[in-house]
Amino acid sequence: MSIMSTLAKNPLIRSSYEGVLGAGFIPRRAFAHFFINDSGLKSQIHLQNYYSFFFPDSLTAATATVWLHDHSGKQIAKKSFEVAPFGQLYLGIEDILGKDIPMEGMVYVDLKPPRIIRKQMKTLPNLLGVEANTPFWVSFRDENENYMYVHSIESYRGKVFGAMWPLNKVMEKAPPQRDEWSSWRLLDVNLLDEFQIVVMNHSRVQGNTTLKVFDQGNNVVWSKEIKLEPRESNRVRIPSEEISRWKELRDVSEVRIGLTALMTSNGKPYVMMRYGGGPLSLHHG
């Protein structure tokens, strides 16, 4: 149950909160994603002006703000862009940073509703429970136009847009939920050339976890302890000798990954693989 749902049980708070929401102060969460401009890959943000679909009688441009962090979690860029009605943003490194440098890290985006849309937020169903989100995609391509893409799966924690003080602060300070997790994707070892796992900390709190690779019998065949600073992205490359060892073992035909603790409730890693000398593929864990 969310903090807001709990507070809403108090009639006075509920009434006040409904008034605040009705005035357009809906909590809004920016989503975060992995962004890389290195190792032969170029990233591109894909984001649409989704307000056009929910408020088609009030078509208007919206402002997207993009924050880019390097791999250590340090913010290196913040820039805003107008998105036309039904329009989209496609942003590469030069659009965000103004220059083309090797980097990788976390990117997050907020799409601020224009005033005319905020005024209509009160028409959303179940107003007390509503939150707005800004999920988006990042595509990754190599020099031969082989593409990979996946949607963002976790919001940028510790920062809530739209909501009024002190509610935004209450929501921002909620401690990150850090549960053990393992993937349900069984990955073939045969033909596997490269295996990279991007572990990210979407929260404002440093954390420790252990990345594990299990075989099809749930035996740990490889592991690595990882310390993650706030907003850090750690792209772990499984050593090629290790992959060769799995192949030689022969009884390791499929593997899957796990973490002793996600840094946030849905902060699952991204996985990149290369098979048989072919193009890279990507999925979220």
Binding site: F53, N133, S139, E145, Y147
Partner: protein
């Protein structure tokens, strides 16, 4: 225990995983199916059965694959399953992995609670891989699938597609696979989607319609659609990036985008995000009204739908 409020439910669709098979394009499909609900009153050993449907939506056959304990996952290459069933695999097909509690063995209809069904859907996250091993292409996506086009779960049938994932170039096409499925193989309702191809500025390059027959998958190739509109070169020259706006008012479709390198066979694939990903309480009358407004705004002038009939 909750009320058994869903009556006469076909247990084959208790927790299905429905996926594309793109044999016509030379890809095989593997599926990792899990029994992810590990505790609580609804955790159960599950039977897994595969069913395959032809391009026309006809059931080609089913095969029992064994049972799966709680907390376990198993991977099947459907090419091997199809071969064992004598089904030609170089075709466009739909596959269904039925994940069913062992207590329903031998039953054609059951009464079950909505809470139980949703508990299993929530914990599912099946992984679908498309494969062309000779080219080193193995790529996948994961998704959950709740009951589709069943009035017991969805009072209205709509699909809103807003996917800024159109990438088209000399060597790249983006295809949207649209699945029209349900909770019974007796489902007979075709679905229709109106769509607009828009560029980054939100300008339409043309409109089209696509019909998806029951229990089939239709492909919407943006490259082909732009070619028919005579605007492929113009779209590529403008950057080759854009979005499909799709609206179905008679079907809950499952859209999957695939951006494919036509030379190497590489595929970027992902599901789209339903409206509740953007506004968490979206639905009901407000959704119906917004969809009607979208329809009037983008598609109501049927004279404009001269574009592409896929």
């Amino acid at each position: 225990m909750p009320d058994l409020d869903v009556k006469d439910f076909d247990p084959l669709f208790y927790r299905p995983c429905i996926f594309p098979i793109m044999g016509e394009l030379g890809y095989g499909t593997s599926v990792s199916v899990n029994n992810g609900l590990t505790n609580g009153p609804f955790a159960s050993e599950m039977d897994i059965t595969f069913t395959f449907l032809s391009e026309e939506g006809k059931v080609l056959g089913s095969k029992y694959m064994g049972s799966l304990q709680t907390g376990h996952v198993v991977k099947h290459d459907t090419r091997e399953v199809l071969d064992s069933m004598g089904i030609q695999r170089e075709k466009r097909m739909l596959g269904v992995a039925h994940v069913v509690p062992v207590r329903f063995r031998g039953l054609n209809k059951v009464d079950v609670s909505r809470a139980e069904l949703m508990a299993h859907v929530s914990s599912s996250d099946d992984f679908i891989e498309f494969r062309q091993e000779p080219k080193g292409v193995i790529t996948g996506l994961a998704y959950q699938m709740g009951p589709q086009n069943d009035s017991r779960f969805n009072r209205t049938r709509t699909t809103l597609l807003q996917a800024p994932k159109v990438i088209v170039s000399e060597s790249v096409d983006t295809v949207f696979a649209l699945l029209n499925v349900s909770t019974t193989f007796d489902y007979h309702d075709a679905g229709n989607m109106e769509y607009s191809i828009v560029d980054a500025g939100g300008n339409s390059y043309g409109l089209g319609t696509i019909e998806v027959k029951p229990w089939t998958m239709a492909f919407l190739s943006v490259r082909e659609a732009l070619n028919k509109l005579g605007k492929l070169d113009q779209f590529i020259a403008a950057g080759g990036l854009g979005m499909i706006i799709g609206l179905s008012r008679d079907s809950g479709m499952v859209p999957i985008s695939m951006t494919r390198n036509l030379n190497t066979g590489a595929i970027a694939c992902d599901h789209t995000l339903p409206p509740i990903y953007y506004f968490t309480t979206w639905g009901g009358q407000r959704r119906i009204e917004a969809n009607e407004s979208l329809h009037k705004l983008l598609f109501a002038d049927s004279g404009l739908l001269q574009g592409v009939k896929a």
